[in-house]
Symmetry: C2
Subunit: 217 residues, 2 copies
């Protein structure tokens, strides 16, 4: 049985990554992290609906509030002036987040005896985040070889080198339910349409030539 | 200012590691993880007393209950029969624990602008745990180079190749407060003296030629 864990935030990249995992794997396990994101209520709803849609064998939400306590990111510290941790990286960077999330996924994969962990990281859209680069995921796979009881677990990043429009086209081809995804950083009822994340999403749909099924203000 | 984070469980290895960090660093930040260990109350008391003793600039306890939820270890699942994850590794192994803890420490180090993370891992006493080997810590340092905004953070394992007796002798030389450490897996008031962890501790003190200052049943 080919078992895979899929990290599902509820955004477009993780949605299409889940759609790809559903094509290639036999048993899916969905994993979500709650770390004080502003729109966590909506993201969690998307996560749960997607777990049903893709018939995940099991799903888990891990409480990572410590990431908000540690701070250092505008994504988890509302209304605060954030000093960016490095000059060329935006203040939305959450310190070492991808590594901390992947490590928890590896823990779960050891217990489940899963072979693969899917994450919807995108290098091009990542604004220079160091934990979205191919070399980072290679280092994570090397860490598994050296430090895990299941050396054969592999981290898979199927949309790493795609643009947002390409990801949307791929998802449309796989009939991914975009109405169950969320990107807005600000609102949870209707998307604001103007935050950087909404802008990237809307540009992506325009470039792909599809209408976005979610509602905007 | 040389800032360092020290992972402090409250056991002997982390105590002596903290004592060494206190010798070499200017500002210490103590970090502890709560993941459903049986004797967490006592470990937390040791952690807080040690933070005072070593005048930690700040200390943080991170809630890692998800590790207990994921399971796979006798250390967090009391009274349950545990299927070991790999034949030659004891059921006390907690899946990928050291990596998950170090990643949280790296997140905090990015925000604090700390240079070093100290962990009291011991390869010889580690019963084959893959995340206690030197090659694992090298892979972690490589992960920092590839995935952190502070590529210069270094994980330090000063007692990695010492025996328990050597660690105790080193700690005695540094006047480490062994009365503020705890090793017993079973009890919190007085140590049982018979669990594997107590046995290793008592053999270590006997080999070093010192009396253990904590009380036993």
């Amino acid at each position: 049985m080919k078992r895979a864990i899929v990290l599902v935030s509820g955004g477009i990249d993780s949605l299409v990554t889940a759609a790809l995992a559903a094509e290639h794997e036999e048993e899916l396990y969905f994993l979500h992290f709650s770390y004080g994101q502003r729109t966590e209520g909506k993201e969690r709803w998307c996560f749960e609906e997607l777990a049903k849609h893709y018939k995940a064998k099991d799903s888990k939400i891990i409480d990572y509030r410590w990431l908000a306590e540690i701070g250092g990111s505008s994504l988890v510290q509302e209304g605060q002036e954030i000093k960016t941790l490095k000059d060329d990286i935006p203040d939305s960077y959450v310190p070492f987040r991808n590594a901390t999330m992947l490590c928890a996924a590896i823990s779960w994969a050891e217990v489940l005896d899963a072979d693969s962990i899917y994450i919807g990281a995108v290098e091009e859209d990542s604004s220079g985040y160091p934990d979205c680069r191919e070399s980072f995921f290679e280092a994570m796979n090397q860490l598994i070889r050296q430090g895990s009881v299941k050396e054969n677990i592999t981290i898979k990043t199927p949309v790493l080198h795609f643009s947002k429009s390409e990801i949307i086209m791929l998802g449309m081809g796989l009939r991914a339910p975009f109405e169950l995804s969320w990107s807005c950083y600000i609102c949870e009822d209707e998307a604001c349409g103007t935050c950087p994340s909404c802008e990237i999403r809307l540009r992506g749909f325009a470039g792909a030539g599809f209408d976005d099924p979610i509602s905007y203000k």
